[in-house]
Amino acid sequence: MSAQGPLLSVAGIEVMYSRLALVLRGLTLSVPRGGIVALLGANGAGKTTTMKAIANLLRSERGEVTKGAIHYDGARIDGLDPSDLARRGLSLVMEGRHAFPTLSVEDNLKVGAYSRRDGAVAESLERVYSTFPRLKERRHQPAGLLSGGEQQMCVIGRALMARPHMILLDEPSMGLAPLLVEEIFSIMQQLNAEAGVTFLLAEQNAAVALRYATYGYLVEGGRVVREGPARALAADPEIRASYLGLDASAEADGASLAARRRPRWLS
């Protein structure tokens, strides 16, 4: 692994679906080694498309990166097969908890180790079980019967089975109770601190995400409109008004970020 430069860099990518709909229009971001970077934005802003572009999943949805480049660990990765990334230590936890419903929890986790050639899979399994003790209790149940929070743990555990250097975490808080959200985020923080796993975190819930992240990007209409250290973003009055719902006085300027956004069909 080369030690210099960001671990992941996305440089000015454009993504088009069905050669028709331009969803990302020159999005740029970078994630330093060992960081937790948040990607914030409303529904439809392009967060999930960014994640899928990095993970090379667009092709199976008839989308493609038409401009720009994505580098991970010093090598260009757009154009690889999605399954190659797991071997390189980059894992995606997809939005919406994609556990394999008919496979048992343990089989779900074992699939996560598919790309590994070493014999230490059983050891990793135990480590995941000690991180998520509830998964161990349910190891023989089909994952489709787990609760939402347990499924989220199952897919994060599955990503960990590949022993990743970096995890792309897409909307982990979606549809979960606040306490569970805190639990999942603090596990993320623990993995970051203890195992040195780098995270790129896409979240609508900006309030929670900015508490755990070190740096943040705000995405609107397929490009980054604001970036900065998490603390600075959390203090920004416009972001507070539009995304955190905290400070109504910013509305007085009559120019929230959302209102200033140009209509999509003109840009």
């Binding site: 008839r62 999605p82 399954s83 997809m94 556990a99 394999f100 598919y114 489709g144």
Partner: protein, 296 residues
């Protein structure tokens, strides 16, 4: 002979012929389960496999060598199909993939006959077709051997899916393709494995049916027999294909013997389809069709 032992004989005969239907249906189910594609070319693969086997036999090879070579040909075919047909169509609608398999089936039928010729060939597997008597019931030795072969095949396949790493990955792909890719499962390889397994099944089905009907173009029509089996058992259930094959085999024989005389016979050929339509009305997903596991 008593009425009852005659009844048993009909049932046993039906079960054994049902195994032959199951054999064909399994190939369809496997591919449908893994990729959601109804593989129209399964019948053509049966013909291709049987012709290849007989072709190698005609070179004077022993049966085991011809079998292994035909199997290798089917595996190579699976890899070629993945490269040239499936990979370029990733992400396309299922209907487009279905049409691609129609094209594939026409190509395979022509290609097989181009290489091996169009004349009807007999296939003698060395199993005598003399009925033997077990407990006062006459049973066809050939059907019995075919059933045993099918049972071994099913046991091998289900052990493969349940206990191997690739089998587990294959079930993961069937559940959620994108999530499996993200977890590091290479989709192209898995599809080649699935089509290879379907090719293996086609080879066994081709041998059994070829020995029955002769190795000829009509073998592709055997695939039609699999349709009612799949409708009855569900398109994505291996257990369903097995049970439904047996049910169809038994019910068509019973219908022929006991209902046939009232309508002048000839029921056997269409009874399975009538049964399939009845099932469609009552349980559209089939008896064993995917009841998706979901927490509400």
């Amino acid at each position: 002979m008593g009425d009852f032992s005659f009844f048993i004989e009909v049932v046993v005969g039906g079960l054994l012929s049902g195994v032959m239907y199951t054999l064909v249906a399994l190939g369809f189910v496997l591919i449908f389960k893994a990729s959601g594609v109804f593989n129209f070319a399964q019948g053509a693969m049966v013909l291709f496999a049987a012709l290849t086997f007989v072709g190698f036999l005609e070179f004077g090879l022993p049966m085991w060598a011809a079998f292994l070579l035909a199997l290798a040909a089917m595996l190579a075919l699976a890899v070629a199909i993945e490269r040239t047909v499936l990979r370029p169509l990733v992400g396309q609608d299922h209907m487009i993939l279905f049409m691609a398999t129609i094209g594939l089936s026409i190509f395979l039928e022509g290609f097989a006959q181009l290489i091996w010729g169009t004349k009807v060939r007999g296939l003698d597997l060395g199993i005598s077709d003399e009925p033997i008597e077990i407990g006062g019931i006459l049973i066809s030795q050939f059907d019995l051997s075919a059933a045993a072969m099918a049972a071994v095949l099913v046991a091998v396949l289900s052990a493969f899916f349940s206990y191997t790493k690739v089998g587990r990955a294959l079930r993961a792909v069937a559940d959620d393709t994108q999530a499996a890719q993200v977890a590091g499962v290479p989709l192209g390889f898995i599809w080649a494995v699935v089509w290879g397994a379907a090719g293996f099944i086609a080879l066994v089905a081709g041998l059994v049916w070829g020995a029955r009907l002769g190795v000829q173009f009509a073998l592709t029509l055997v695939a039609l027999k699999a349709l009612p089996v799949m409708i009855l058992g569900g398109f994505n259930s291996i257990a369903g294909a097995i049970v439904a094959g047996l049910v169809i085999g038994v019910s068509e024989k019973l219908a022929e013997i006991y209902l046939g005389p009232f309508v002048g016979g000839g029921i056997e050929n269409w009874f399975p389809y009538a049964l399939a339509i009845a099932v469609l009305l009552i349980r559209p997903a089939g008896l064993f069709g995917a009841a998706r596991i979901a927490r509400v």
